[in-house]
């Protein structure tokens, strides 16, 4: 079966596209899937840093497109997972160095040999976004539970529909159940109510994410992290599994812990 191209995009910057790409990629690879992550954010590359592969880059996406190297030469194998590869973006060029049809050709070349091709889209709705979206079979839109991010996600979903790449699926990132409970943050329901697309992932705010990003180790490799679990759930849903969403209330609040202790004691 030829591989599927999944583009991860958002419109707004800083909502966690790159973190999501790295972690969904790592999660899929941990389920013995062959995965290539492509960083389409030419000029502002990050994915190599998040995966901790920055110092191994020799060739990049633009080198492949302009014929300075073969595709395999630009692919970097992950430190932790043997089935995960990265094609880094060029840092010294800009988005116009690659065209949408270049991206389609590149992905068509990868499809026969890999199960998943994940594309990390740049922020914005210009050329870089169109490059990232051109080869996509599935589009994941990442948003935070904030009005501005949701507004941009709405715009992006509209553009994806216009390009006939829809329907997009939604990842809500950095949700703080405690704040939602107090009514200080949009809830997942509020976001879904406006965007009216299918939810594929609900990632709670988790300090481990920042730590793992800085160390260049994907959070999915940390078995204890809730965010890591949420990313693994996305990978399973992408593979067609029905995975229920865990309850959203804050299970770490003292009250809950105490009540659980009592219940455990009573049994």
């Amino acid at each position: 079966m030829p591989g599927k191209v999944v583009t991860i995009t958002s419109g707004k910057g800083g909502v966690g596209k790159t973190t999501a790409t790295a972690n969904i990629g790592a999660a899929l690879a941990s389920y013995s899937q062959k995965v290539v992550c492509v960083d389409a954010d030419i000029g502002l590359r990050n994915l190599d840093v998040v995966l901790g592969l920055e110092n191994r880059i020799v060739y990049d996406l633009v080198d492949v497109v302009e014929g300075r190297c073969r595709l395999r030469q630009a692919m970097i194998r992950d430190k932790h997972l043997g089935d995960l590869f990265l094609i880094p973006a060029a840092q010294t060029r800009d988005k116009s160095a690659v065209s949408p049809s270049d991206m389609v050709r590149l992905c068509d070349e990868l499809r026969p040999d890999y199960d998943w091709i994940l594309i990390d889209s740049p922020a914005g709705i210009e050329r870089g976004f169109r490059n990232a979206i051109a080869p996509a079979d599935i589009v994941l839109v990442v948003t935070n539970p904030e009005v501005s991010a949701v507004r941009d996600a709405d715009r992006i979903i509209g553009l994806i529909e216009a390009e006939e790449k829809g329907p997009a699926r939604l990842v809500i990132n950095r949700l703080k159940p405690e704040m939602v409970r107090r009514g200080d943050m949009l809830s997942a329901e509020d976001v879904l109510d406006l965007l009216a697309v299918e939810l594929i992932g609900l990632i709670p705010e988790d300090e481990h994410v920042v730590m793992s990003t800085n160390q260049g180790t994907p959070i999915v490799l940390n078995g204890k992290s809730k965010a890591g679990q949420a990313f693994r759930d996305i990978a399973r849903r992408l593979q067609g599994e029905q995975v229920p969403f865990p309850p959203l209330e804050d299970q770490n609040s003292i009250f809950k812990r105490v009540s659980r202790l009592f219940r455990a004691g009573g049994n």
Partner: protein, 211 residues
């Protein structure tokens, strides 16, 4: 640029050939295409736009006699008129009067942020109008869904135009030259109709028992 009529495949090729022949002239240009009666799908128009941008030009506007092509172009964020419909500085007297039922378009989808729907007649939407989307109509606007974006009815000066929605909560509501916003604290969403009464925009709750 006004390409000839004929099969789209040929016309498509002719456009690109024409650009390639005169590459020096077209370099860096903003292109407005008059596509006459061709009815294009989003994929076809998107492909053409990408091919044009690969040649160093920007596809800026698409003019068309086909409403479906015009709408496709609008969804892709392209202009469909060389001059803007929006009247400069508010009200402008209407030259041709619109009558009820005349020249309306029906949109059966959700209008998302960034989408602009401009029509000289009436506009009917079955779906939501999200924040960041705008509707500018010469006549009335009816939304069977939640209206949360910007809406301008009677944009050509018709003070009798109305806006109604199942949940009327637009970021801004304009009728002719009058502007109103939605109050911050609203009760439960309910169908409302907004119109100009004594020189101000007022919204009235639709009440099946009243009157």
């Amino acid at each position: 640029m006004i390409p000839a009529d004929g099969e789209w495949d040929e016309v498509h090729k002719a456009i690109l050939d024409h650009i390639d022949e005169q590459r020096g002239f077209f370099q860096g240009a903003r292109l407005a295409l008059d596509l006459g009666n061709h009815a294009l799908k989003a994929a076809e128009l998107g492909k053409l736009r990408d091919e044009i941008s690969e040649r160093g030009l920007t596809l800026w506007a698409v003019l068309s006699n086909s409403p479906s092509t015009e709408q496709t172009a609008q969804t892709l964020g392209l202009a469909t008129r060389l001059t803007k419909l929006r009247p400069e500085g508010g009200t402008r007297p209407l030259e041709t009067t619109l009558h009820s039922g005349e020249n309306a378009i029906l949109v059966r989808r959700t209008l998302r942020s960034g989408f602009s729907l401009q029509h000289p007649g009436h506009v009917i939407v079955i779906g939501d109008v999200n924040p960041g989307a705008e509707i500018i109509a010469g006549g009335d606007v009816i939304v069977w869904g939640r209206l949360r974006g910007m809406v301008h009815a009677g944009a050509l000066g018709d003070e009798d135009a109305v806006v109604c929605a199942l949940d009327l909560a637009p970021t801004q509501l304009r009728i002719s030259g009058q502007i109103a916003t939605t109050p911050q604290h609203r009760g439960k969403p309910q169908p409302e109709l907004a119109r100009i009464k004594d020189g101000r925009v007022v919204a009235e709750i639709w009440n099946p028992k009243g009157k």
